[in-house]
């Protein structure tokens, strides 16, 4: 294992987070976007909640009602013919998938990057008809002085990717759906290339094709095209089942460092890296052949959905120390550090090389 986990892990647990309602309990505080903002590290947590009281032997899905503004409970008694209890996160009823919790976004703040104070109120809550099952997995990119946040709105219409913009982490502007279902794990590059924004995406194909990372471009951040596959899963390896972008790409002298996640056929989620060309991020310079981090700590192995390390944000400081904030077991937040030099070694990139000479 290359990374050094925080001694303080997990740094944020569900019990640290005040529920958004008295009758709710927090079951997950995980998959946070991370950014340095003024003199603080901000984590924009995905907070998953469910009612404290769930009727015995009942599957329950909390669903936001955009008409009333309330969260309704959709319940199905266990033993119902068309009910399938799939795992802790989801059940299927009459062929449709429902989520057992509903997520919102919540800020946590820290001056040392380790000890966080969690806001008592949500930052962003489900609002539209496309967010009735919750909003999930924010990634924050600083582009030209504004913070653009991709996230997954989930509803009966599907799992999409949408967009928020903020300058102050107090007021958030909402944008339309930028990637129609199913498309997840979208990260925006923190700069334009030839007057185009770039994004990594993870189309969730149904019939043909691998669960791969694609790249697309845009002139306005809303309309995306020129889609093409960037990286494929490698069957038989740690990332043979599915891959997706995790952290917002980090600019280095050697290229864009993308920390991505790969899962094997048993849904064990690891973290790995790929270095992309500085001027053309559709070009791969080097990719991990092994994960640099896999679930092994107790809080990573067991939880709401175990055997998962899943990051939505990392921060590199001026000493090239990278702090990876990651969701563990779909339950809590943890942190780990790795140096850029260690990542370069792992990617077999010599520190004297430059991206352009390698490309």
């Amino acid at each position: 294992m290359l990374v050094k986990r925080f001694d303080e892990n997990p740094i944020i647990s569900p019990q640290d987070v005040q529920p958004s309602r008295d009758d709710f309990e927090v079951v997950g505080a995980f998959n946070a976007g991370a950014i340095q903002f003024k003199n603080e590290v901000l984590l924009l947590l995905r907070v998953a909640e469910r009612p404290k009281q769930i009727p015995a032997a009942t599957a329950l899905a909390p669903i936001f009602n955009p008409t009333s503004g309330n969260i309704d409970y959709f319940t199905v008694p266990h033993g119902t013919n068309t009910l399938e209890l799939l795992d802790s996160r989801v059940f299927r009823f009459k062929g449709d998938i429902y989520l057992t919790s509903i997520s919102h976004l919540r800020l946590a703040r820290s001056t040392d990057g380790i000890h966080f104070t969690i806001d008592s109120q949500p930052a962003v809550v489900p609002t539209t008809e496309f967010e009735t099952y919750g909003i999930e997995d924010p990634r924050i990119s600083l582009i030209d002085g504004q913070y653009w946040i991709t996230y997954k709105p989930v509803s009966k219409y599907g799992i999409c990717t949408s967009l928020l913009k903020t300058t102050d982490f107090m007021n958030y502007e909402r944008f339309p759906i930028i990637f129609c279902p199913e498309n997840i794990d979208v990260v925006l590059f923190p700069q334009k290339f030839n007057d185009r924004y770039y994004a990594l995406t993870r189309p969730v194909v149904r019939n043909i094709g691998p669960l791969a990372i694609w790249i697309a471009d845009s002139q306005d951040m809303i309309h995306w095209g020129n889609h093409r596959p960037l990286m494929l899963p490698r069957p038989g390896t740690f990332d043979g089942g599915r891959i997706g972008a995790s952290c917002v790409p980090i600019k280095t002298d050697y290229g864009w460092l993308e920390i991505y996640h790969g899962a094997d056929e048993y849904n064990k989620y690891c973290l790995a890296a790929v270095m992309l060309d500085l001027n053309d991020p559709s070009k791969i310079i080097s990719r991990s052949t092994t994960p640099f981090m896999h679930p092994s700590a107790p809080y990573e192995v067991k939880g709401f959905f175990g055997n998962v390390v899943f990051s939505c944000g990392a921060i590199m400081d001026s000493n090239n120390l990278i702090t990876i904030y990651y969701g563990a077991a779909d339950t809590c937040m943890a942190g780990a550090v790795i140096t850029l030099g260690e990542i370069l070694d792992h990617l077999k990139i010599t520190e004297s090389a430059t991206a352009s000479s390698l490309a």
Copy 2:
């Protein structure tokens, strides 16, 4: 049944089409885009081919090789452990789907709209790495004097939607992938609205959501966003399984007439209609409650994949007579006529009404 089928049906059969190679046979000539061009009706056929000689007890997929420019044969002996013969169109091997035929696009021309002369050579053939399994289901929109053709490039990377442009149906300009996998049944509206192009799309979701028709907009025809669902399947009805746009929308005094396809849970594909607001095609004025056409003729019920009527293009003449060209049973092309008045009756739109008063 409201439509009147051509007496001459099927108007184009596989045996009418010259294979693109001597060692190939044509197994399907279907799902053609249709357009009036100069004094002719043009059908841009999807022509599906496979080798004449297939080794006994073997699953074979013809796959275009973009490096050599040849079509290679991928074969798996029947009885192989990880081989599943799914239906006539596809097999699965080691979890991946393969197609038993490979499609290109071919022009057929007619002065009366019924009797067609089929070009001896393809119009557009698989060329890129995203087209190795074929190119399928073209839809032709005339926009500002140019013909824009959406089609499905299929490869191991997935089933996408891409774009061709032509002014003469001799030279075709190819564009990048405009909708990443899986997204099919894309039709472009033949005009701009508030300086935006509009498209109907059919995201093929994997985990959550119905197989529904979505709408998106674009400023340049390449980059698409502002995705939102337009119409959902209606469980228990003829279109309860899946719906998708079929023909390019037809402008009428009453709104945009979209002839769409709906399939039930048994994969019986019917044709139905929806009228969309003239100024805002994301508004539905009226939608079929029953199909106006379902597979019943022998050539629709039996074929490569039976019980399918599937249109990619219809033409309305100056007398408001609509000729629907459609693929029957994934095998041949047929035609049927219906008047706009009959469609309006079917949609319970009174002829004296205007779209704006109904919207």
